[in-house]
């Protein structure tokens, strides 16, 4: 351990991963664009290649950071920079979800009632969509996608809520265990968290299958289908990402990384998981229940 590093802000030299990341992003995006624009999309190899490059970049980049961290190259000031980076990243995620929640709010409180004749929408309703009642949930005045059945909030979604809540409890227990320097406990509770997250994702996929095959509830089922699938879909992607991050953290704890007084990587991931859970609570309440 070098004491000199304590006085110096560690500035890395020659970052090779960012340009790899840019190429990965570009290949992914071009693959996705081709996929969207082609009449008969085949297997999207270009997109997979891009995603592979991004995953390679992440392993390389984070590996470098982890190595430097375990070599004690980072002083507390560097640590604070990482913390700020993480919270403002999560804040940007909050705003991203806020955008979609905002769209849901607008549809439910403004656009659907207006189409149903409220406010200044009377003429629209009378002339264009006579008889349409702007009641949520709806697939719009032109009945896009046909009639659908709703997911019963007190079956799968309720179980899912319970699963995610339980996973928040387990990760909090793991957090306390790590502070007490009880590594075995930490690993066990982290594995429990990942498992609960995985079951959540499984049930979420199950719910989508049921919605598509039995309930005729689709992405194209008007504004209800749009908001339902986009909100839960983006949330599911974040749960997946969070579960992967927790898996990595578990391996790191297993290998003896982190110390009771310094474990920013763990805290950042734990915080991300809490954020994902709170978003789910919002979804459960505003999408499924109220």
């Amino acid at each position: 351990m070098s004491e000199a590093s304590k006085d110096q802000y560690y500035v890395p030299h020659l970052a090779k991963w960012p340009i790899v990341g840019s190429i990965g992003l570009t290949v992914t995006v071009l693959g996705a664009i081709n996929l969207l624009n082609s009449e008969n999309p085949g297997t999207p190899w270009v997109m997979y290649l891009g995603l592979a490059i991004i995953i390679w970049m992440m392993f390389g980049w984070f590996g470098e950071v982890v190595k430097e961290s375990e070599e004690r190259l980072y002083n507390t000031q560097v640590d604070t920079s990482f913390r700020m980076g993480m919270i403002w990243f999560i804040f940007s995620e909050v705003m991203f979800f806020a955008c979609f929640f905002g769209a849901l709010f607008y549809a439910r409180n403004f656009s659907v009632p207006w189409l149903g004749g409220e406010g200044t929408g009377l003429a629209t309703n009378e002339v264009l969509y006579p008889g349409y009642e702007g009641v949520w949930p709806t697939n719009g005045p032109l009945d896009l996608g046909g009639q659908f059945t709703l997911i019963d909030p007190y079956h799968l979604p309720l179980v899912n809520t319970l699963l995610l809540l339980a996973s928040s409890v387990t990760i909090t227990i793991a957090h306390h265990a790590l502070r007490a320097n009880n590594r075995k406990q930490t690993v066990i509770w982290l594995i429990a968290t990942v498992l609960l997250g995985a079951i959540f994702i499984f049930y979420q996929a199950e719910e989508y299958v049921i919605a598509y095959q039995e309930y005729n509830l689709k992405l194209s089922s008007g504004i209800y289908g749009s908001t339902f699938f986009m909100l839960t879909g983006f949330h599911g992607m974040h749960v997946t990402l969070g579960a992967i991050m927790i898996s990595v953290i578990t391996v790191r704890v297993w290998r003896g990384h982190f110390r009771p007084e310094s474990h920013f990587g763990f805290e950042a991931v734990a915080w991300y998981w809490h954020f994902v859970d709170v978003v789910w609570l919002g979804l459960f309440i505003f999408v499924y229940i109220i």
Binding site: M84, D143, L165, G282, I285, I289
Partner: protein, 71 residues
């Protein structure tokens, strides 16, 4: 009832935000981050139990699609 649920949700958001604040402020040394996260989880469980109670008592009802009176 709906509003009560939303108020509890706001409290949860607040404790989550406080945890975030101490994530930077406490620099991992203080207990505040963990404490606020624990409060956050406890409130969430409370909210969950309350929703079940409200649904059981019929205070809230899930929305249902209305496909009648189509043009």
């Amino acid at each position: 009832m709906k509003y009560l649920i939303i108020v509890i949700l706001l409290f949860i958001l607040f404790s989550l935000g406080s945890a975030m604040f101490y994530l930077v402020k406490g620099k991992g040394q203080s207990q505040n981050t963990v404490r606020f996260l624990t409060v956050r989880v406890a409130l969430s469980v409370l909210l969950f139990l309350f929703i079940i109670l409200a649904a059981y008592m019929g205070w809230i009802e899930p929305h249902q699609p209305n496909f009648l009176n189509r043009p």
